[in-house]
Symmetry: C2
Subunit: 211 residues, 2 copies
DNA sequence: TTAATTTCGGTAAAACAGTATCGATTGGAT
DNA sequence: ATCCAATCGATACTGTTTTACCGAAATTAA
């Protein structure tokens, strides 16, 4: 398996989703050119991306075996061995994520949720129980869960992060706004709405200028 | 104003958020070195990023004027002239976004929401009314709104996109999974949870390997 | 069976982004 | 008043990511 850059990595789930649609249509082969055209990528980039994670080559004039390609993507993305995670903070956004239907397809299963609001504790959302935050330590220890999804307000963010890291969490998917500091061995992935929106508005401005 | 790369662009809201905190503490100056340390960036990168969007230089031994820096960032990011947007699809995620408290700080105001579910239509969430999707055309025309936030299931995604583009929407913030095709003049920014989660798990694996 | 065409994989070149270096300038300490 | 340390901006360098190119291989069609 070759080295994969961050941008490249983010493209793989996009390929996966597209290819699933083609697979549904009963197609058997697909060429890099077709994929590139549908996604708006360059042909060379698609070829390089796919070469990096597949073991079997494609065949000239036909392209790649669609089924094999999907399997390679799922293997690479780890969609086969489901990742278990806990969710912390059952506010509007946290509840929406508990209800998010596509996580299983992405190899993610939320096994428990935590909040410190008594009104939330005891609820069951999409078959996931909401427990009191005070019980989180025991749960992390006993379940061995490694990933936490953070949906808490910004104020206590770093405090909570420090706590759960000490309890054994090594991967943090952070939906809360704000920067968090962790030791090197911990992985953090931020979902930063402000950054995403900034890209949108900036690109809109650029297009207006270009006219 | 110099050219700004996409990665660079995504860092500016992060700077902005950090600097607001420092401003709250009553600080007057801040050096690139301090910013770099707090965000885990390199000192040079911070300096280069800030140089690209500011007009006034920093002063040696003190750093940059914090207030001026924040103003430059807000100016660059367009936080001053508030962007108006509509939201389409008031499901769990859509409702969570309607309740999201930080949009005003990001220069975003959602002025109306649309859904085709009669149970949703007529609700008012966080002072935003949910209207029937059939009335969207009139609203876009009369309000002149340019940005749409999409939170609809994947099935009708492209159909809706084609419709709203025809009605005058030019910027789409897409929270729905799946690739959408638009004319060149339209800007799309995807919030792709699958890609984000893939980066998290991949980085976690890399760290385990590196041990 | 042969020719034409498509697509492949690998390599080379170009573009881009990030890092390091360096002289200049300023503020504060002595 | 002078010196020292910190920070700046600019530029040069390095590395990474993307794009372009090219010969080879395989399928389809004549």
């Amino acid at each position: 398996m070759k080295y994969v850059s961050k941008n490249q990595l983010q493209r793989y789930p996009v390929y996966h989703k597209l290819l699933l649609n083609h697979l549904k249509n009963g197609e058997e082969f697909i060429s890099s050119r077709v994929i590139a055209a549908e996604l708006g990528y360059s042909e060379e980039q698609v070829r390089k991306d796919l070469q990096a994670i597949t073991t079997y080559p494609g065949t000239p004039k036909r392209g790649r075996n669609l089924n094999e390609l999907v399997l390679s993507l799922e293997e690479f993305l780890g969609y086969n061995d489901m990742s278990q995670a806990i969710l912390i903070g059952v506010g509007h956004l946290g509840a929406a994520l508990l209800n998010y239907k596509l996580f299983p397809q992405m190899g993610l299963k939320i096994i428990e949720a935590f909040d410190n609001d008594p009104k939330k504790v005891g609820l069951t959302i999409n078959n996931i129980e909401v427990k009191d935050y005070s019980s989180i330590k025991e749960f992390i220890k006993s379940s061995g869960v490694k990933i936490a999804i953070l949906c808490i307000p910004g104020e206590n963010l770093q405090v909570i992060v420090d706590e759960i890291v000490k309890m054994g969490i090594v991967g943090i998917w952070n939906f809360a706004p704000g920067v968090i500091n962790v030791p090197d061995r911990i992985t953090v992935q931020n979902v930063d709405l402000a950054s995403s929106f900034a890209v949108l508005t900036h690109n809109m401005k650029q297009k207006i200028k270009a006219k």
